[in-house]
């Protein structure tokens, strides 16, 4: 009996609707299972009634959704935008690099010459530290073939500070000539002051070379200068009363007399 009741409960939970003959006979004999069956029927009827109740139609319009939706960005458009931005970035980088290279080549400075000045012997030896010797830079701006020969082309020349014999070999690499490093003499007291305050001062000063501008000569045509004669003061001749030599008389005509 109990075994049949258990099977009947399992059958009830299997969602079967048709009551087989076996269970009809069992329900006539078992009051507990009959009660369960009535409860199940009541439940099924109730669910069926509720299920059959009409559900109102949704009045939701597409406009209510569409107005609140963000603007769709299709994946293909996103890919195209990404590709374009990438291409533009690459072009800009290449152009910038090219411009940088171009400007570097155009403004490449002439070789700089570094040499050490001689320390005057009159100075006390303790004022000069052997490892902090100053280095001065002299820029040789003249072209190699124009030494001592005036030419019509604009020549740029800066006088050398020392004779050419004492010149050390010129710095020819661009890294050497682009940035000149100058050292300052600094007293030991100043350095110690800086260190004691926790400030680390760099003893170097970088001097960047500006691009050289061509110098246009003011006088493109050769100028004829008037001859200048240096002579004695005129009062000397006046006092002596002697006539001036003829050779000098002609020159005096077009000459500027300078007297000191």
């Amino acid at each position: 009996m109990n075994k049949l009741c258990g099977q009947f409960v399992e059958w009830l939970e299997s969602e079967a609707w048709e009551l087989p003959q076996v269970w009809r006979e069992h329900l006539q004999q078992c009051a507990t299972c009959a009660k369960l069956w009535r409860q199940e029927q009541a439940y099924r009827n109730l669910v069926s009634k509720v299920r059959s109740e009409p559900v109102p139609n949704s009045r939701l319009a597409w406009r209510a959704i569409a107005t609140r939706l963000p603007q769709p960005t299709p994946q293909s458009n996103r890919t195209v935008h990404l590709a374009w931005s990438l291409a533009i970035s690459v072009i800009l980088i290449i152009e910038g690099w090219w411009l940088l290279q171009n400007s570097t080549n155009r403004n490449e400075p002439l070789p700089a010459i570094a040499h050490k000045p001689t320390v005057p012997s009159s100075k006390p030896a303790d004022t000069v530290k052997p490892n902090t010797e100053p280095t001065t830079m002299t820029l040789n701006l003249s072209t190699p073939h124009s030494d001592g020969v005036p030419s019509t082309s604009p020549s740029r020349r800066i006088a050398r500070a020392t004779p050419p014999k004492s010149e050390p070999p010129a710095l020819t690499t661009p890294s050497d000539s682009e940035v000149a490093v100058m050292r300052y003499y600094r007293s030991e007291g100043t350095r110690s002051m800086g260190r004691s305050r926790g400030m680390e001062r760099t003893p170097h000063t970088e001097v960047a070379m500006l691009p050289l501008e061509p110098i246009e000569p003011l006088d493109k045509e050769p100028v004829e200068y008037l001859p200048v004669q240096y002579g004695e003061p005129s009062t000397t001749h006046d006092q002596a009363g002697s006539p001036q030599p003829e050779s000098n008389q002609e020159g005096i005509h077009d000459a500027i007399l300078c007297s000191f």
């Binding site: 939970e13 409860q39 109730l46 669910v47 939701l60 299709p74 458009n77």
Partner: protein, 202 residues
């Protein structure tokens, strides 16, 4: 003729095709999906919240959320299942946040308004009996835990297949059958005294 126009004319355009077009930014495909699933989603939500206005709000949120996150939808399940899952989650959120007495008041007002605006109102005795059964059913239903309630709605009211429920709930069919059985037991236990009051059972 545009390809999509022909697709609109042809109702056999599948959900997968519409979703693919919607992912490409086709607003018409979104609208088509909305029109296709508006009422099924509304039915499920309405069964859960028993209020037209609340159901409309939730359905709107369901579609907004679904369309905003459409790019995250992978074709591992059906679009309809994914949509129902979102709807159930939003119903769960609402059930957690809203107090029960407020729901009852809302439902009562909705029923009264529906009865007053009914074009052919039934007889008062019939209305009373129907209303009493309806009230008893939803009273017991609202006392159920949320996971039981959703199963009763999906299986007994909406008559969803076990496979569909399993897909929505990310579980197996056997697991769903077991859960439905437990939910029914709990529901019958809550419903029995109410039905006894109504004289439906001894």
């Amino acid at each position: 003729m545009d390809d999509f126009v022909s697709g609109l004319a042809n109702p056999t355009l599948t959900d997968e095709q519409l979703v693919a077009r919607a992912k490409e930014g086709d607003t018409d495909a979104l609208e088509m999906l909305f029109l296709r699933y508006r009422q099924p989603v509304f039915r499920l939500v309405y069964r859960s919240v028993q209020s037209v206005d609340d159901a409309e709000d939730i359905v709107q949120d369901v579609f907004l959320k679904a369309f905003e996150r459409l790019h995250t939808f992978r074709e591992q399940c059906q679009f309809s299942t994914w949509l129902m899952r979102i709807a159930l989650n939003l119903c769960t959120d609402r059930a957690r946040t809203q107090k029960r007495h407020a729901e009852l008041l809302q439902r009562e007002a909705t029923h009264k308004l529906a009865w007053m605006t009914h074009p052919n109102p039934p007889e008062p005795e019939e209305v009373f009996q129907q209303d009493a059964f309806h009230e008893a059913f939803y009273t017991a239903l609202n006392r159920l835990p949320e996971h039981h309630r959703q199963l009763i709605i999906m299986r007994d009211l909406e008559e969803m297949e076990y496979e569909t429920i399993a897909e929505i709930l990310h579980t197996s069919v056997g697991g769903v059958k077991l859960r439905v059985m437990r939910a029914r037991r709990a529901f019958k236990a809550l419903l029995e005294p109410l039905l006894r009051e109504l004289g439906e059972i001894e």
